[in-house]
Symmetry: C2
Subunit: 200 residues, 2 copies
Amino acid sequence: MDRRRERGEITRKTVARQAAAIASVTGLSSMTLATVAEALGISKSSVQAAYPTKQDLQLGAIAQATEIFVAQVITPSFEQPEGLPRLRALTDAWLDYIAQRVFPGGCFMVSNLNDFDSRPGEVRDALARGRKGWLALLARQVVVAQTAGEVAAHPTASMRAFEIDALLAAANLAHNLTDDNTPIETTRELIALRLDDVAR
Amino acid sequence: MDRRRERGEITRKTVARQAAAIASVTGLSSMTLATVAEALGISKSSVQAAYPTKQDLQLGAIAQATEIFVAQVITPSFEQPEGLPRLRALTDAWLDYIAQRVFPGGCFMVSNLNDFDSRPGEVRDALARGRKGWLALLARQVVVAQTAGEVAAHPTASMRAFEIDALLAAANLAHNLTDDNTPIETTRELIALRLDDVAR
DNA sequence: TCGTTTATAATACGTTCGTACGTACTTATT
DNA sequence: AATAAGTACGTACGAACGTATTATAAACGA
């Protein structure tokens, strides 16, 4: 084992984590190398050693944020069976993840997607891939729930996934603006209500 | 009439309009004085003459964007009676306003709210005021629609307003990412569906 | 042990940022 | 006619940006 490379991997991860935290507040474009370096107490050129260009750092932050998101929201949901139970676990975990402020600026993805949605490039593509995967995951659970008769067949699974994601993103925004938890609980209710429509 | 001040007012408005257009793409924080000046073919110091500081320019852009939004979405809805008809007019006009790309980067407010929701200051406050007013307008129409029996009494009017706004914001994001109109039409359907629940 | 590789750092460079200042020119006021 | 007010522009400045270059110390492979 090369202890030098090992150390490098650790700092790479540390830098990316800090970059993700900062970018959740200021956005990936307003994030600067100096801010990340200062927050970690290392030199600016050390950040540059870990990620040669700013775009590399941005992509690294996205990868790290994705990893954190998966660990916080997606992985725990695997304890629930597919379909409605897992769907509920996903949305509940998502709202918890916002309420707990895992990222200081709310959801990393929501903030930066809205920042980069009109700016072509690798950063936007990486963010879009993440969103696509998330929506596909939601839609898959809706499909299972629908075939099991737990959720009404209309609207479409992808429409329902779109709707759920929309409510979650709005919860993130409202929570960041008001800094209290009522929008989160409101969203929890709304999602529960919208998934309840088979019971009628 | 003072023709000097008149000229100043015109340039102030021109500068603010251009600033709003640029900020809808890059965000108010990444927007620079030089970009705005160059886009208008005027000097950087002329921009500064119209808006002494960058924050002044940001606030000017918000005011101008609000004006455009009101003219494009809100004012036309007054032709419809309050309640469900006006609510439909508002959401339809909103989606049209996105599809037509009145702002090159989609909805000015959605982009910049997500940019500034974690950054205290006058800019964030101005954006938050705009959002609050918009949600209040939607909620009022829902209330009227509910008392008229056009829309079910539950969920709450403010919850329904929140939900509608969430869907619209998601439509803006999806449209910016994919650059086709299907998310907009999907959202149109979803909103119609969610407002139809009294008919059951 | 000696040369190579790697992480970290210090320093510097060219560019762009927001802002300040002085000036030319136009319009209004006296 | 003379002074004041206001717009537009050129220029300049310090700070911060991303990036490139170089140096130092530690860990590896031969």
